[in-house]
Subunit: 317 residues, 6 copies
């Protein structure tokens, strides 16, 4: 960012109530020269099966990110100083057509990845992870996936003859070879399902499905080790559905499931993944119309800050 | 209603806080024998260009309708006693695919119309009016249309190469000959538009576009006469976008426009249309997540009650 | 349910945003033939001492139950396939007269119990448990009671000369011999009380009062064992006040008490009670006007789903 | 108020965000010596047929009244300087027993009236007007009544064998001779009713029922004259149901009816009644849980301020 | 705006749910070369006497402005095409120190005015109008002022020894010769005040104080003429307190006063002022934490759009 | 409290929905004779750096305190019977001037302390702790401080040349010798900061800064011991920022930080401090406009009840 051009995101001495909200007051630009990480919004919510509203996720996560002062006291890094990070703005989604939207996502994110920037995307509902994984596959080949969620998202179809929706991104990704099936872990799965086949299907497709009960039986530190063991040093993509967290901590989501992780547990879990070979992150299913005074978008912004910190630690090492 | 089959919508002596909410506690059934009017929900909101949430419109309008006690003191009719009315439930919409949704609407509503029942549909965003008009055209031929709205909804495309969305139902209907272009009136149009062409386009396509300024210059009684004159004794379909009313009275909508009608004015306007040859009604763009303690859905339920009363008066005459 | 009569609760391919909300889309009927479990709403809130609004509990729990897909992955049972379950609708309560309401509850629930169906009732405030226990006593004799709550509800009177209110159902039940006093356990009790006599009174009446401190000192697994030991193989009724859970997880209630259970702990606790000889359940004090985007009603619906699962397991064994 | 006893309602230089909220920072006391008007709260909401919550009406109206600075610029009077006014606190209502509550209201308000203070009461639902009129009848004999409402409240029973509820206070008052039947006017009546008999019943009982259509056909100035003509110089009691006003202006109420008065119209209407021989006022059906950022309680507080001003003008004349 | 630098405010085909919200997607810059109008945010709310929160006014008005498509159908102008308009971002306010804030406002806005750009500022509470008028006085000499408000804001002090707050900007401006006292009109004044002196003081200082009663007695067209007559062809500054509008239409404000203008009336009033010699505008007292689903910020954004249109018409003429 | 003067806070048999809300229905008075503890409100929110609204903290905490019945079942004490406690009302704060406010706080609280009453103050934002510590220093000399918070609040300046704000009270207190630097412990610190210097600065100034990670590594019982060891038998002041608790439990605050304590942990922690030599308490940063149905103010009221109980135990011992 040019010093001569004052950053209008600043204002009122950088107090969070002031200024035009880009993510963490980063420059809003599509100039990708020397960019190492781009924050990309994907305001699409037609893929949801219950409450819509995630189209406002990117905007609200950006706004809540103004509470982030920059230095990560646990991971001991200042990611936006360590890395050249920008706010790339939003993908041109098409609410009436998920196929057109998927193509727009893969294309636009492909442009960023091809510039050698990494991407952290802000959803949007979970349907966006399929086109995101497509773009990452084109750049990196099949990737390991760490998938935090309360639902396996490996249904075949939510509606007759409709392959795409927020319940199907991972079956589609597995079918299309986007995921390294040896290293695909789902964490936090819970809630009622249609039949006992639901979990079986996910496991048969190759997922290491860890329910919330298993997770708590492990305990967070052992669970971290389990995830690290599954992923190893493969290139890994982390897909984060905010409904993996309990609705008390993250009410602002489309299909909440009771009995989930606390915010502290989740922060520790993400921090515990430092040193893995991350190639991309998404933060999905934040639905501001159903939030409670922004506690969900604030938690999402903090988790994205941890994602940025994990990228920054990779550079430092 | 058969005494042998207790109506479970009843309960607690019919106080509105009690029971399972069908519209006005009408029987929920798909048995169309002898039915004269069917209430049909269309919970589709992927067509909107701003705030989603109208997928919850049908459910919430049904709930608010429990405040309706049955007798219309102004039009002096008890429509659910005069007519055999049912709650038909919801059309199987497909949030990820507006074309599949449009087909489902035209097909399902076609089944009802072919049974010789009339339909009052509860949206859903305004994109549903195109398939609704298709179904009515198939039954009645091109119909006159009274269209209350703040927007003309005659844009060509909101997204590249996407003919369908909540900004285009009336251009599509006009192009497809669903509307009797001699008798198409838009009432309450206002707000900023992309260019001076917007209103010109609507008028060139044949609409009698009455802005809110014109409406108030007429005054409600003269405006009623103007509408009646345009429609005459043609078969007429009334499409009601709740955003024709001011956001103070109807905040729960996706694309609110300030400076609109009051609830009293609108009730008087609808009542003033008695005696026209109505063939169908829709009530669209009620978005409960953005409502204020149900005042919008309550207003919508009352307007639907007026629609029912207009149907009932047609039978009495 | 007759195949010829389509279930109107369905709609939009059973996505939870669509259809008329009966509990889990079960048939709404008062035909009790072969019914094994009936869901019964009791929309009464005049018994509360602080915030009213539980009259909307049954309706909102039904709506949130549409998120339940049917199979319980922890208890490994699909209760609505295993059992013949119906939604019976609501009892005709009388807000101005608690005695008339109590009689209506005992009578209506008595009809269901006498048909050999079991009942899961949805409150309403906690005053409804006294007439519910009366009905169960008439069918089963004095029953063991597992009572989750933050308050003992064994006050003598909240208002002069008024025996009935939401602070007194268990003293009244004990006085009237509805409870097997050898097997009455209260779990989660906390918060300030009028005097040290409050807990003493409850214990003197026979309750095994377990405070939240005791509960956490046990730990959930030992606490489950303690409860099982108290109840043994007696016929047991479970009364669930949602305020036993912390307000972070269940804000939508009339008299919230801070420092309670988490949703995960509670789900595990209920599941841990499988195999007991349950004769009835109630879920009370869910107050939707004070909820936060339905997280309380969703938790209540999930707990009722666990209750149904416990009934289903009894049949399988 | 004694200078030696600082008024704790004051604080922060009397800015409305500060201090313990008595009505308009008046002294909270039950010492009735020389008191000319007492503000009396009646936090009872078991009489409502839809949404409860008016039990919080008195508290919230008091809080919103802190925005009132004291001088009425239209009626040109400072009522709390002209009159000796106190905040009497709340009547001891009994939510589970409307008969006990009615008696408590009549008794407590009777004490105040017998001290020669007048009473302005803050509800509570509209059932409280029957015991209030009883107390006023005992003091003044049958009184003229000006009744602003959207409902006639002259149903015989809302529940079988239950004479008292918020739908019946005026039939009970008429039956018991509390109202001077020659001078009973209802203003603003609207909405659907059970049958054409509803309005006929009210009129047959003696009410001059003025619907909202009649009201608007009169115009506010003529309507004021009509009311003044009906009442004449009789002792008159004004009963104000906030749902006479449109839900856009007064959403915080239990049984809202669309198509009502605006706040400006109502303020002008009340001010136009100056000079009548008022003996009492009530402000009922304000339900804070359903309000929108206190706009309803603020409007109620302003209307109560107009009531106080009318009393003050009576003294000045 | 340079084509090479894509405007990140765009996104998703310019649908309002997408992109980083500058006002009307205008470029966010402090480069004032050739700029004709600058939108300047002033997020200061320590001057309020009741509810704080206007510090979020500028951000939320920007967000709601994305609903504005560009062409004004009533005034027949596209202001952002006619004029070179930018979003200047926010002034660096100091919440703990109103004097430091006032200086920052006068200085920063002075920089803009000295570049020969005009300013439309987005508050913030009404205290900001004093430093804004100071900056305009320095550029233009004493200006005529059209002041829409429910309060005269000419109190001497709200707190002992504190000259500045949101109740005093106009007495300070008059004392300091910032206003052409021959041409200062206040419109919409109402509500209770401390004493009859309040209005007298305002008038004695020179204001033409028009109460809401006077305004309605004029009628909107005559009122417009009255204002035009007062102002003549003097350079005129318009200060707009959103609480001039009724809380039904504008609940999101700090000190709401019931009985105000409707949104339609106000839009017509502003449009009726075309052709006056405007030198500046402010839009103050929009308090998003107290808004109802953004209806207040949307109305404010629409009014700012009318201000822009008035500037654009001045250029065309 | 004199029996002759009925406590108007009572009402409706002391049910929490009734009466004028002083803290726990204590007498509202400034008569300090024989008073042992005074509850003092400080409705100041200009010191916050993000969301304002804590000016309504005192009023709302008082209202929520009506849920407290009096007897502490864990600490086994009835504090308002053991001690003579009053509600002193609010300090006269000046929103536009933090220095004038600080002086008013120190002076008014000094009056109370000099009467030999202790003070529990209800904020307001955290800037109030500096003047509170000044008043306590004048009475007790430098005090030990237990400081629960997510932020160290030892920034030098949030705005240029502004020593006072809610980010600086403890650096100011340390610089001014108000705190016994040997015994100053911060508990629960977390969240991103400007740089690694933030925590270093706090520690260099003398604080024993315990992060949330350290706290959980200790476990609550050991953490209690650690705090007790630091404080010893020194006179100790406890400053409680509600944002030390997780936003799930305490959303109603100005600068929430995710990943904090639960309500149960915090209650146990406060109770574990019994027997320390407390001289004062504050409860700050409760911001009702951002609360969720009062769960934050209810938690705050409960914590204040624990503070009262700690004072009461000191007297009993």
């Amino acid at each position: 960012m040019n010093k001569d051009k004052p950053n209008l995101a600043l204002g009122a001495h950088q107090q969070p109530f002031s200024g035009i909200p880009t993510f963490m007051r980063l420059p809003a630009t599509r100039d990708l020269k020397d960019v190492e990480v781009a924050i990309v919004g994907i305001p699409f919510d037609s893929g949801t099966s219950y409450r819509s509203g995630t189209r406002f996720g990117p905007r609200k996560i950006r706004e809540s990110s103004l509470m982030l002062w920059g230095y990560n006291t646990v991971l001991e890094v200042n990611p936006t100083k360590t890395l050249n990070v920008i706010d790339y703005g939003d993908v041109d989604v098409v609410p009436v057509d998920i196929k057109a939207t998927n193509k727009a996502i893969t294309d636009e994110v492909g442009v960023v990845l091809n510039s050698n920037s990494k991407v952290i995307s802000l959803g949007g509902d979970h349907s966006v992870s399929f086109p995101l994984l497509q773009a990452h596959k084109e750049k990196y080949g099949p990737v390991a996936v760490i998938h935090f969620d309360s639902h396996p998202d490996t249904w075949n179809e939510e509606y007759p003859d409709q392959p795409y929706s927020h319940g199907t991104p991972f079956i589609r990704s597995l079918e299309n070879g986007l995921i390294d099936v040896e290293a695909y872990v789902q964490v936090g799965i819970r809630g009622s399902v249609e039949s006992s086949k639901d979990y079986e299907d996910s496991r048969r497709l190759g997922a290491r499905l860890i329910t919330i009960q298993e997770a708590y039986n492990f305990g967070i530190p052992s669970l971290i080790n389990e995830i690290r063991k599954i992923v190893g040093n493969r290139p890994v993509y982390l897909s984060f559905d905010i409904d993996s967290i309990d609705p008390a901590y993250a009410p602002g989501t489309g299909t909440p499931e009771v009995g989930g992780f606390t915010s502290y547990e989740m922060l520790q879990m993400i921090r515990g993944l430092h040193g893995l070979n991350f190639v991309g992150f998404d933060m999905v299913e934040v639905s501001p119309p159903y939030d409670n005074n922004d506690i969900t978008s604030l938690l999402a912004a903090n988790l994205v800050f941890e994602f940025l910190s994990l990228f920054a630690l990779m550079k430092q090492e």
